[in-house]
Symmetry: C2
């Protein structure tokens, strides 16, 4: 039975190969090329799973079973070397006690990232310098840079950014879903509060520059992004963002801003968060069912119970996701507007990312295949898959070093 | 040759055994008994070595070569299961920038302890509850509780104590060599500043109680210790302190304070820091040579260079250490005054501890032998070697839990 299937598979692949030869590279070829590059996703929300009891990053999971999207076996299969692993903090009140609680949560998340690496020295290596990525890949390990999504946990104490820098942080975005002490978010239902960065947010930019931390404008309001580009001494990144020309959503940027970003040396990393890629049909029943699920979470129910309920919901009210094609429309549009030196990949894995036919990192070579099919070269792919993000990291580092030298 | 020596050894041991049978247990018997107990040192400064490049806690070191006193092979040989691994922070100025720098140093030291455990899951296990110690010993692993020596890094932000609690901290002392924002030290050359705990120090005591952290009065001025005993809702510990009746030094406590400590349920853990055990001859040449060594350290010289220089100094101007007998005088005196329910062991390993014939943890069974020879029972030894420290930890936890219950 096995042999028969294998043979059939071989015939099928042969046919695909011959058809494809005229127009497109095969997924196997694309995978092989991707495997030869340093591949980084600039926004992995996977550290949230590290603190889930029972979650083992070394084991293979499936999205259908536990809704996770990144683990070592799947990274290997999908040819993903690593990326920026996010210290994400949900936002509470803009009060001292809110800040303190979040500071602790963020420090513990950073600890979780560091202990993941410490516990698996043959699998992961922690990276702080741009050049580390290639060295780590050569050692056949996965690359772990640390980033921060939402600087809310810093409270009003900018000095905490250095604390996180010392923990290894090398990328940080000021805001998340809502405006905070550092500036305006792109999605706060109350509108803008500061008209971009707040005065404290401006200090945050200067401090990130001083330390050598890349500033991340994802989730930030357009005016905040503009302020960041204007004030930052080194190029900024949009670690997981889309093209507004394809879908007019506040989490995406328009061509004017995209060009401004690129002109300043910055990079947009394409987000695969379906709701930001196209208008999806409302599903009030699914929404209501998720309300019930959240109740279970708040009651502190067992993870197995919560997952079982979630699987039920997914069965009864399946999520409508954007298509892979729409994701690539965003991607190719950005490439058309600013070119392959200013576009990369940040799909928001384990943070809501995922489109039809690419619901976890296993399917990443589809992107490579599609870009190769579009005529992008292997060298372009190297930039897109990691080179661009590493370039802005290098620039952030060089600037910080230049300050030290000029002080001497 | 080997066989001959073994035979000779066997004869020698036989003679020792027969001589000892009338008056004393053998070191082998003492070691075996010690091995059957949960053995904890309440003040291990070893985490300072964890951040020294090249230091490997899994490898066997010698004091004569690198002046370290604790590693896994030596813990095994000396029958030490573990202890409270200290987040020690040297004290700078009592200013915001001093506090911030120290906060970061302390957080990184806590990270070093946690990553040591994460990197060696078969060797170490992190402990936060009193009952963890026995479970970990049963799993043949070494026990790692986290403590803090000098609360200076908390600055004026008491909420940071909870941050460290979340990192696993379960014991904390307010001061070190000098007075600080929390109270008076026993050794500040300028004398006392607060007359005991400062108002902020009183808040620290309350917060430690609320969280379930054992308060540590080592290094604190007698008046500070008295304030801690008076204000703390649970018994305090002196994690590494001696008997003033044996040697009148500010780092030791007199019998009155010792009795007050015991009456409140507290514990003194006997310190093996030679300079606090007896008057030692001054050695100005050694002192001057160490001045030169510190210059090398400040210049950032290679560790190998510094160690080579240190070995030279130790050869040319050997340190005069207190004798093991004097250490036991302190120990036995405290036992005579407050009994075996209120005395334990905290020898300040890797923090300056060590006496003649006990310069690292390999020699710990000498203590057990001596206490057995003095007539203390195996049950007493169980209390001394860990039971007492774990009791005050349990009491701190129970009090914190009682607050939660009463709030409900």
């Amino acid at each position: 039975m096995y042999k028969f299937n294998k043979k059939l598979l071989s015939i099928t692949l042969g046919l695909l190969c011959c058809q494809a030869a005229t127009a497109a590279v095969s997924i196997e070829e694309a995978t092989a090329i991707q495997r030869s590059l340093v591949t980084l996703d600039s926004h992995l929300d996977t550290p949230a799973n590290l603190v889930v009891p029972g979650f083992d990053i070394l084991e293979r999971h499936t999205y259908d079973h536990d809704f996770s999207q990144v683990d070592v076996p799947r990274m290997k299969e999908g040819a993903l070397d690593g990326g920026f692993w996010a210290v994400y903090s949900p936002q509470g009140e803009l009060t001292t006690s809110g800040y303190e609680q979040s500071r602790d949560t963020a420090l513990l998340r950073a600890l979780a990232i560091r202990t993941m690496v410490a516990a698996n020295p043959d699998v992961f290596e922690f990276a702080t310098q741009s050049a580390d990525a290639e060295k780590i890949k050569k050692n056949s390990k996965h690359i772990v840079y640390m980033s921060m999504e939402n600087a809310y946990p810093l409270g009003t104490d900018i000095s905490l950014l250095e604390t996180f820098y010392k923990f290894g942080l090398r990328m940080a975005g000021p805001v998340h879903f809502k405006n905070n002490q550092f500036g305006d978010s792109s999605t706060d239902p109350s509108g803008t509060k500061w008209g971009g960065l707040s005065p404290l947010g401006e200090k945050l930019v200067a401090e990130a520059n001083r330390l050598g931390i890349v500033l991340d404008g994802s989730h930030a309001h357009d005016e905040t992004v503009k302020d960041m580009i204007r004030l930052s001494k080194t190029p900024i990144i949009l670690s997981h963002t889309g093209s507004k020309a394809i879908y007019d959503h506040p989490r995406n940027v328009d061509d004017t801003l995209l060009k401004e970003l690129a002109k300043s040396g910055g990079v947009i990393q394409m987000n695969a968060y379906s709701e930001y890629l196209e208008e999806l049909p409302a599903d009030p029943e699914r929404k209501a069912a998720f309300g019930g699920l959240m109740k279970l979470v708040k009651e502190g129910s067992d993870r197995s119970v919560i997952l079982e309920k979630r699987r039920e919901i997914e069965h009864e009210h399946p999520a409508v996701k954007a298509s892979f094609e729409v994701y690539m429309e965003h991607f190719l549009h950005a490439l058309n507007v600013v070119g392959p030196k200013h576009v990369g990949i940040g799909a928001d894995w384990d943070g809501g990312g995922g489109v039809d036919d690419m619901m976890d990192v296993v399917n990443l070579p589809k992107i490579t295949k599609r870009l190769l099919d579009e005529g992008y070269s292997k060298s372009d792919l190297a930039d897109i898959w990691g080179g661009n993000a590493l370039r802005v990291l290098q620039q952030a580092h060089d600037y910080a070093e230049s300050l030290k030298t000029s002080k001497k």
